[in-house]
């Protein structure tokens, strides 16, 4: 439903373009912004502009950064001999959220998919190989999604790294924690059993 107020409609339209935001949510957000005091709207606009003007991609791992190197690459306490390869920046956020990983990252910017027109050359795979060739890397941990395209990309990278002096690992295909086995799909169970560990 529209109230026929063009400026409000435009804000709703722009908000609804955000991932995960439906039209109803966009309307609620727009009304919230509309009703907020002047200060909030300005702060929001500043933040949006600031993030675009002041960020770039880390020249080493392609994470978002305000400097040449991102805060993770620049952090001397992190183990730079471990590189975790992910598809996208949101995956870095997810892994960082777990606080279990103390190595550094490499963000591919996608996965191989001929149907979507993405070939290995479109991803930051050559840059990954350069990093490994540059020395200092002991382990490359492949942490891509389990889609057929994610699998294809992991296979491709493993093939490329095969003859290099690094250990290649991948995250376990596992049963999600807290899930009942009967609700986990059979392929996940099958693979989890195939890659079982001794305790």
């Amino acid at each position: 439903m529209s109230l026929n107020i063009p400026s409000l409609d435009e804000l709703v339209k722009q908000l609804a373009r955000l991932p995960g935001i439906g039209r109803k949510t966009a309307q609620r957000l727009a009304i919230f912004i509309l009703k907020s005091n002047d200060g909030y709207a300005d702060e929001l606009v500043d933040a949006v502009i600031h993030v675009k003007e002041n960020t770039r991609l880390c020249k080493q791992c392609f994470n978002i950064s305000e400097h040449e190197l991102c805060s993770i690459c620049a952090d001397g306490r992190r183990d730079s001999s471990k590189i975790c390869v992910v598809e996208d920046i949101v995956d870095v956020m997810a892994i960082e959220g777990s606080r279990e990983y103390n190595g550094i990252y490499h963000i591919l910017g996608g996965v191989i998919s001929p149907l979507a027109g993405v070939s290995p050359g479109d991803l930051k795979i050559a840059e990954l190989l350069d990093r490994v060739d540059g020395g200092g890397t002991k382990e490359v941990l492949l942490a891509l999604n389990m889609s057929t395209e994610g699998e294809a990309t992991m296979i491709y990278i493993s093939n490329m790294l095969k003859n290099k002096p690094v250990e290649i690992t991948r995250i376990a295909h596992g049963v999600p924690m807290g899930s009942h086995l009967e609700f986990v799909d059979q392929m996940t169970i099958g693979r989890a059993i195939a890659s079982r560990q001794k305790i």
Binding site: P114, Y156, Q186
Partner: protein
């Protein structure tokens, strides 16, 4: 399995239709074009989340309706009450609900209510293209093994990706780019082949007995799993099949590149139906063909019982057309023990002697129904 009732809304010609079913046999009768097959189609939707006669869901939407809804309550093999609902709208897409809870993946409900269907189109199984025989295997095995369905979906995705790659002009590093898909094609393909072989083995163990019982003849019938281009036999284990596929994919990679299509794997395999080592397609009479098809369906349902411990719903779509009453009776005695049966027909009088409970008769006319 026992389908107790069905309600459909905005589906094909029906605005709203609610039916109660007989636990053993249901004769759905009425003139042509009144929606008899639509009822079987709706039941099939509850089992497999899709139609057996339409390629997409929009076709089943009643004219100018926003959505359709199919809801059925059934009793499982342990007599627990369950329900399934399939909802489709052009805007929201298709959603499935099991016991009123929305499921994330359709594969979670496929197999809950196994179904077998026998229709006049099944003649395609013996005389048609390999596609229909692969579909026969895939529909059955997907209902029995969730892992089969998932492997099949991933396998098909890999074939699409690989074909796209083979069709593109990029010839730089093509071998390497192909290998990432071939690698997965071997993994999922092997799983698919293993399950298919196991079923074919079951068929071969039982087909002669069932066929001879139906036809009244003594024939030597067999079914061969026809692996396209790669070598395969029943003695092979998982590793053997994997190696066979790998080797073949390697040997044919230039041919695949030249022809720009995936030539090797279970998506190109076929079944050969043989009578005394000769193909049914060319060496069997129409009657023999029918007996054979019926045998296949009976074994399909026996296999469901053996693997899942469930009796499937049996859907018979207008297959008794020109048969006389005694032949119908014979066929029905064979098939009705397989599970709760749903028959569409234009001639209900043919079933008078067979059906003694009037609750079994469902008359369909226009957009309504009555027992």
């Amino acid at each position: 399995m026992l389908l107790k009732n069905l309600s459909i809304e905005n589906f094909r010609i029906f605005d709203l239709l609610k039916l109660q079913f007989h636990p053993e046999i249901n004769i759905i009768y009425g003139l042509n074009g009144q929606g008899k097959t639509t009822i079987l189609e709706a039941i099939y939707y509850l089992s497999l989340t899709k139609s057996f006669r339409a390629k997409n869901d929009t076709i089943s939407l009643k004219n100018e309706s926003e959505f359709f809804n199919i809801f059925g309550e059934f009793e499982d093999q342990e007599r627990r009450e369950q329900s399934t609902r399939i909802y489709f709208s052009k805007n929201e897409g298709k959603h499935a609900f099991f016991n009123k809870t929305k499921v994330k993946l359709f594969s979670e409900i496929i197999g809950n209510l196994p179904v077998i269907l026998l229709s006049l189109d099944d003649i395609e199984l013996t005389s048609g293209f390999p596609t229909s025989r692969r579909k026969f295997l895939d529909v059955l095995l997907s209902q029995l093994y969730p892992g089969y369905l998932q492997s099949l979906q991933r396998y098909k995705k890999c074939i699409l990706q690989k074909n796209k790659l083979l069709n593109s002009d990029a010839d730089k590093n093509l071998y390497e780019n192909l290998s990432v898909w071939n690698n997965q094609i071997v993994e999922y393909g092997t799983l698919i082949i293993l399950h298919r072989l196991k079923f074919v083995e079951f068929l071969n163990k039982n087909i002669c007995t069932v066929y001879n019982k139906i036809s009244g003849k003594t024939e030597n019938i067999s079914i061969k799993y026809n692996a396209h281009l790669y070598s395969l036999n029943f003695m092979m284990d998982k590793a053997g099949i994997e190696n066979g596929l790998k080797e073949c994919l390697f040997n044919y990679r230039d041919t695949e590149i030249k022809r720009q299509t995936s030539m090797i794997g279970p998506h190109r395999d076929d079944l050969d139906f043989l009578k005394d080592e000769y193909s049914f397609k060319t060496h069997a009479s129409q009657g023999e063909n029918k007996s054979f098809l019926l045998s296949l369906k009976i074994l399909e349902s026996n296999y469901i019982k053996e693997i899942s411990d469930k009796k499937p719903l049996v859907l018979l779509d207008d297959i008794f057309g020109e048969l006389d009453n005694s032949r119908i009776e014979n066929l029905l005695t064979l098939i009705r023990n397989q599970g709760q049966t749903f028959i569409t027909t234009t001639h209900n009088n043919k079933f008078d002697q067979i059906v003694n409970d009037s609750k079994s008769l469902i008359h369909i006319s226009g957009s309504g129904a009555k027992n």
